[in-house]
């Protein structure tokens, strides 16, 4: 059995107390899928299917590759690019989230990472550099149709804020079409399940403690999805001020007084992820924002 830490291109199936567990590494996270009640052959078949889909999404939307649609779009020099149905849907989604968040959620803000390196150090960029980049940020400057997209020169699209949750929901959908059994998808803490193993059962999910005062929380999940947005270990610290990696696209600076992390429960992972991201973008009002919508969440400050 190869250890999942060593192998970037392989998956593993092992039994756990109630069934099968498939593990692999993808999207810079440990991934696992848990399900019960099928044969080892079916388990292997489903694992293969899930692994391939995750790798497909990872490769398609990674900004580190030079041979995918994202590279094409980010190096299009202001030209129009043809896109497929899946990318089209993602752009529509990004657009709807941009509108609903009053412009705070913006997938063109990725370009700001050229000056912001969240490595836990105190190297905060100077205001001049940030201001210089601001003209390249702004979803309103993107022209898109369901089959084409056109960015202004120098702009970039970053799907990092949606990719993992999208993969979770996609894999759950695919696998539940193949096997009508309860299962749990967990990609680095972004989780979705189509139900608990049996009545009175619930999946136990641990939410990592971010700061030293916080304690790892245990959540009981028997349906729907969980997504967490937050610092993790990506922040800057200077003169006692913590700069979170969640940037305000309108100013180029990090959101102030945002919680360290926000975990949201919702029917789908994409929805949970978007709610937690937009909540974080509200900074101080992250919790009130979710309270007013009656959303179930846990935040760490």
């Amino acid at each position: 059995m190869t250890s999942q830490n060593d192998c970037k291109d392989c998956w593993d199936v092992t039994p756990f107390e109630a069934g099968w567990k498939c593990t692999f590494t993808a999207m810079a996270s440990p991934c696992e899928i848990l399900w019960a009640q099928c044969s080892i052959e079916d388990a292997r078949g489903l694992s293969e299917m899930a692994f391939n889909e995750v790798k497909r999404i990872e490769q398609k939307f990674s900004r580190y590759r030079d041979n995918n649609i994202v590279y094409q779009i980010n190096n299009s020099n202001g030209q129009q690019v043809d896109i497929d149905d899946e990318v089209g849907r993602l752009l529509i989604f990004a657009d709807q989230c941009y509108q609903v968040s009053d412009g705070l959620f913006d997938i063109t803000s990725g370009v700001l990472r050229k000056v912001w390196r969240f490595d836990g150090s105190d190297k905060v960029p100077n205001a001049r550099d940030i201001v210089d980049l601001l003209p390249l940020v702004g979803w309103e400057k993107v022209r898109h149709t369901p089959s084409t997209v056109q960015l202004s020169l120098g702009m970039e699209l970053d799907f990092g804020g949606i990719g993992k949750e999208y993969a979770v929901d996609r894999v759950l959908l695919m696998l539940s079409e193949q096997l009508q059994q309860p299962m749990l998808i967990n990609f680095g803490g972004d989780i979705a399940t189509n139900g608990a193993l049996f009545p009175d059962h619930h999946w136990s999910i641990g939410v990592e403690a971010i700061s030293n005062e916080a304690v790892e929380k245990l959540l009981n999940v028997s349906g729907g999805a969980i997504a967490t947005s937050g610092d993790s270990r990506r922040f800057l610290l200077r003169d006692g001020v913590r700069y979170t990696h969640v940037l305000n696209p309108k100013t180029g600076w990090p959101i102030e007084n945002a919680p360290h992390s926000m975990t949201v429960a919702a029917p789908s992972c994409v929805q949970a992820g978007m709610l937690s991201t937009i909540a974080l973008l509200q900074g101080e009002n992250a919790e009130t924002f979710l309270d007013e919508m009656d959303v179930t969440y846990w935040s760490q400050r």
């Binding site: 039994p15 107390e17 069934g19 009640q37 193993l197 049996f198 009175d200 059962h201």
Partner: protein, 71 residues
């Protein structure tokens, strides 16, 4: 001992036990509280005490020792 034959039968029956059982993911019903062997421990404790003081037998499910002056 009148029931020596029972001991022999039980041991023989159980030697075939390694074939019995369920896979880990088939334990959902066995995991229910009502299927736990200790699920009515309070009732059993009361009953054990009542029958220990009214009859000549004790034990079986647990230890048969005394603990009270009622027999």
């Amino acid at each position: 001992m009148r029931y020596r034959w029972v001991a022999v039968l039980v041991v023989l029956a159980l030697s075939g036990c390694s074939n019995l059982g369920v896979k880990p993911w088939e334990r959902n019903i066995l995991a229910k509280p009502s299927m736990m062997l200790e699920e009515n421990a309070m009732d059993s404790a009361f009953d054990d005490h009542i029958y220990f003081s009214k009859e000549a037998s004790s034990g079986g499910r647990g230890f048969s020792g005394g603990g009270c002056g009622c027999n």
